[in-house]
């Protein structure tokens, strides 16, 4: 066997190489095992209120971003678990970890290019992070560990109120390009009301001025259940979007008459034979009864009532076409 006749130094080198490679293999495999979120969960996933993160919509922990990526100081091997301070959950540690991947965020002034921003919140990261030294986790507390019953992993509005004054002027933060209708960019499929717009209030407010959510949060007394996103909103916030139909003294949880999504009358080009009531009908704004061919700008006709088009209410001033079509569904192609 040529092995035996090999010079001693070669054997020594061979042994050293095997030992070094072996050590590397061992350490690499230990690091692989201990960096897996399931390893952390052997302790942190136990007990009555485990730290186990519900699978994050934003950072799917088991495939892309694990516990280690947020909680370990950059550059440290997970191997040395016993290293004091190796793991931390405090804002400086976690926020520094965010910036490792999202390095451009601290200088970003706009919200373009965001993967998720369903509520169209306009926040200047540069102002908050670079200029005021906020930690990422001050707002993005729920990125991985969202313990709400319906986790969204999005920042919650009340986190803003830790520093900012509370406000019911939704457009202050939720973007000026979005109509003040309470759609807020939520996909229409999520809307539960008839006519694909938030319903008006079909009952008088007499005796119901405490809070709408008293009935509408849990759906007591047959009231339609408010979506989870509405939690914590006060009556003035409700009424900012759900207009109250005055004079209707009979509380009806749901409208008894079927709500037409298109008017039953086709408007002739000159003389309107049907006058729309001054208040918005129960069920929301009317759909568009005509095709959109050749009608690029709604306001040309509907601002002034040209050619018998129903005049848009004063509240609609300044809205653009896309805003109109957000609420007034064009049913005809």
């Amino acid at each position: 066997m040529p092995f035996r006749r090999a010079p001693k130094w070669l054997l020594a080198v061979g042994v050293v190489a095997v030992v070094v490679l072996g050590l590397y293999a061992v350490m690499a495999s230990v690091n692989f095992v201990t960096a897996n979120p399931l390893y952390c969960l052997t302790c942190h996933g136990t007990g009555g209120t485990p730290d186990e993160s519900k699978v994050s919509l934003v950072h799917p922990a088991y495939s892309e971003v694990g516990c280690v990526d947020c909680h370990v100081e950059p550059g440290h091997y997970v191997l040395v678990e016993g290293y004091r301070g190796g793991y931390a959950a405090d804002p400086p540690r976690v926020s520094a970890a965010c910036l490792r991947c999202h390095a451009d965020m601290s200088s970003k002034e706009d919200t373009t290019g965001f993967k998720f921003n369903v509520l169209n919140v306009e926040v200047s990261h540069k102002a908050h992070v670079s200029e005021r030294g906020a930690y990422c986790s001050d707002c993005h507390q729920d990125i991985a560990h969202d313990s709400r019953p319906e986790p969204t992993n999005r920042p919650q509005m009340n986190y803003c109120y830790a520093c900012h004054e509370t406000s019911t002027l939704c457009m202050k933060c939720h973007g000026s390009s979005i109509p003040p209708d309470p759609a807020f960019g939520i996909p229409w499929s999520e809307q539960i009301s008839i006519g694909n717009t938030p319903p008006n209030v079909p009952h008088s407010l007499d005796g119901r001025l405490a809070a709408c959510l008293v009935c509408h949060q849990a759906g007591s007394g047959g009231a339609p259940k408010a979506p989870v996103s509405h939690a914590g909103r006060t009556i003035d916030m409700c009424l900012a979007c759900h207009q109250s139909v005055k004079g209707n003294a009979t509380p009806t949880p749901t409208p008894t008459t079927p709500i037409p999504t298109t008017p039953t009358v086709t408007l002739p080009p000159t003389t309107p034979t049907v006058t729309l009531p001054p208040t918005t009908p129960v069920g929301g704004p009317p759909g568009v009864p005509h095709t959109l061919d050749g009608r690029d700008s709604c306001r040309v006709c509907h601002d002034t009532g040209l050619m018998g088009a129903p005049k848009a209410p004063a509240s609609h001033a300044g809205r653009t076409n896309d805003m109109c079509l957000d609420c007034h569904t064009a049913k005809t192609p």
């Binding site: 302790c43 136990t46 007990g47 009555g48 209120t49 678990e81 016993g82 290293y83 004091r84 190796g86 793991y87």
Partner: protein, 208 residues
């Protein structure tokens, strides 16, 4: 202790301690439950509990209590005996266990004269009362102190002469558990019954 007191107490030179006023303790075990809830303590083990004894024969009977928790000793035996220094003492006197470093040898549990440590059945590491230091950082009191309905638990900075705990200590005769063990515990008992303070073992229903 007011939250403003706690908030400023995170500064240097603080030494936390507690007085358990047995004149006020009713044995309601609210402290025990609050601790369980706050720290997610597993079933079967306790970070704090209220020992209860009955003395005498009817009609000459009395009930005595002894809320027990980690005394955060000045010279803790557990600290000296921990082979990996997983258990260490903070500047403010709280003895803590680093859960990532503990190897579960249980030497600290065997060494503690007050039996306040336990091995977590879920995580297999040593755990004990840490005076709710996460609450202290936020300017709150420990959960047990916060929940005690009679105010039998007085918590604060022993080095601050104006804190509630210092005032109670200065005005009342107090004692500690097992002073002969040279541990210098920082949980003081006011009007504790000597037979309640004795080591009595588990009660009937607690035998496993």
């Amino acid at each position: 202790m007011s939250s403003s007191e706690a908030g400023t107490a995170i500064a240097a030179g603080v030494r936390y301690g507690m007085v358990v006023d047995l004149r006020r303790c009713t044995g309601c075990q609210a402290c025990s439950v609050a601790c369980k809830a706050e720290m997610d303590v597993p079933l079967g083990v306790f970070r704090t509990w209220v020992k209860q004894i009955e003395k005498g024969e009817y009609p000459f009977v009395s009930v005595s209590f002894l809320p027990s928790l980690c005394n955060q000793c000045e010279q803790p035996i557990c600290l000296r005996n921990c082979p990996t220094r997983a258990t260490y003492q903070l500047e403010n006197g709280i003895v803590v266990v680093d859960p990532h470093r503990c190897i579960g040898c249980k030497y600290c549990i065997a060494s503690c004269p007050y039996s306040v440590r336990y091995l977590s059945p879920l995580k297999k590491i040593a755990e004990k009362c840490e005076f709710c230091r996460h609450r202290l950082e936020d300017g709150l009191e420990p959960a047990c102190v916060n929940t005690c309905p009679t105010g039998a638990l007085v918590f604060g900075d022993l080095r601050d002469p104006d804190s509630n705990v210092s005032k109670v200590l200065k005005r009342n005769p107090v004692q500690v558990l097992k002073p002969d063990r040279a541990t210098f515990p920082q949980v003081y008992y006011l009007a504790a019954d000597s037979e309640a303070m004795e080591a009595r073992g588990a009660s009937e229903g607690q035998e496993r």
